[in-house]
Symmetry: C2
Subunit: 298 residues, 2 copies
């Protein structure tokens, strides 16, 4: 059975296409690696790459891309709206098929160790984190590249691999992890009252006492004269799409507001949709191996 | 983009494993062909094979398997509970990915023509049928192997390829087609009254004025003390799983009977489940290309 892991490395260059292409070439021509997508964002000055492959192939390709980033990206000259601390900023690995969380955590640590050998400090986060205060990427990255030198003097923020107590002069540092696939799911409400969408968002999200792997906020869709509860599900296997939309429905009832639609942004794992079909159709004893295309991939 | 076609050839041998293995070898070792499943049924004396691949690879593999069946299966000595008219009895091709119905109809006709050159009469059925009275497999196969000689004398039942007016002495004839994937979907009812399940089945199926691509019947699940509306959806892209279960729910209301579960038997195309997730979650503008695993298959 083929093991499939996804990797979504982010690079701090979203304006100079030539530089970005040099990085992308590391994935485009890599055996055992499939380049699914990459997109440059000039405002963020950042490129997000999506690749899939087996552990060894991904490891090789990511390492070569990090080496290229080390050569061609200088964070001392980098400006952009997105928070960042490294030339290659984050390298999350995501288990997709026939692979356990443990295997992907191991892979993230191996890759981290190898990057460390290049003299680049590496922080493990999310499921790979070595301490609970290092799980959240926002915490790890707080202070960004400019604040890293000061931050890393604190033993609490020593790197896991590479130089422990100081950033690389031009590269900065990189955060590497195993995490679950992120599902971006938005529910549209039949009201133009943003307060309602915001209030519902606060109720359903983890921070407000809601579902554990749900982040949510209210958004105004002014053109359509409706509002939206915009959500990120950080572990759809535990906080499912159907539980999220049904909880939004329950909260919306308080205001007499109907759900008028929803949207899935970007890629979504098949299991997340299969779980919904299973729930609403009340299917008993279903396995994803019964999905023809999934079976074909074996 | 890789074109994927499924083929589910049925062979009239389900007892002699050695013979079946000779047939399966044609698929197992075929380049461009993936053997997903095969199962021997001794009562039916029949083997059902499931393969996927591109048009050319499937064509080659199916032809070699038909040649083997021609050599080793003698229908004059065949007994079994399942209706059959040929050593290789049916060869349905099913469009799965990046391939149109028209392309698969063309493939079925090419394969039919090649089989005809072996002196085997070929009947095109379902979407490949050359006349409306030849669409339904049950009609094409009525009379079975034993009645074929008489039946084929009637111009209405002349073969499309191969010997027009008489079966092959030992092989009989084969039916080849393009059809949509079959979805076997059963809905369990919270009643042990089979009359209710039967009545609902009659209401939702095409024959009774129900949904066009739905076949249905009531079934007693005596052990669980419940009943079931057992259905086959012959074109899930037009008669969807959610429309079928919601129609069963509406009919069941008349008897105050709840739906207590459902089941999907065997393989189901991803789109059929995605359609259900889209419906119940009210997702706007979703494309199956957003399913990660589907994207990986590109």
């Amino acid at each position: 059975m083929q093991k499939i892991i996804q990797c979504v490395p982010n690079f701090s260059e979203g304006r100079d296409k030539k530089k970005v292409e040099k990085i992308i070439d590391c994935f485009r021509n890599a055996e055992g690696v499939k380049l699914l997508d990459y997109s440059l964002d000039a405002d963020h000055n950042r490129t997000v790459v999506t690749i899939v492959g087996d552990a060894e192939s991904l490891k090789k390709a990511v390492l070569s891309a990090v080496e290229v980033a080390l050569k061609i990206i200088d964070l001392t000259k980098h400006e952009g709206q997105h928070p960042r601390m490294g030339a290659c900023d984050v390298v999350p690995f995501i288990p997709i098929k026939n692979v356990t969380e443990e295997e992907v955590i191991a892979l993230s640590k191996e890759v981290g160790e190898e990057i460390g050998k290049l003299g680049i400090p590496v922080f493990l986060y999310e499921k790979s984190a070595t301490a609970s205060h290092r799980e959240n990427l926002a915490d790890v990255r707080r202070g960004q590249f400019e604040g890293l030198e000061e931050k890393m003097k604190d033993a609490k923020w020593n790197a896991d691999f590479g130089t422990k107590d100081a950033p690389h002069k031009t590269f900065g540092a990189v955060a590497v992890c195993c995490r679950m696939p992120l599902v971006a799911f938005n529910v549209n409400l039949g009201t133009d009252n943003l307060d309602i969408a915001t209030a519902i968002g606060k109720k359903v999200r983890f921070l407000g006492g809601g579902l554990r792997y749900c982040k949510a906020m209210g958004v105004d869709l002014a053109e359509r004269k409706i509002t939206q509860v915009s959500m990120n599900l950080t572990d759809h296997t535990k906080t499912t799409i159907y539980s999220v939309i049904e909880l939004v429905r329950i909260e919306a009832k308080r205001y007499g507001v109907p759900i008028v639609g929803s949207e899935v942004i970007g890629l979504v794992p098949m299991q997340a949709l299969v779980d919904c079909a299973e729930y609403y159709l009340q299917i008993e004893n279903f396995s994803i191996d019964q999905v023809l295309e999934y079976k074909i991939m074996e």
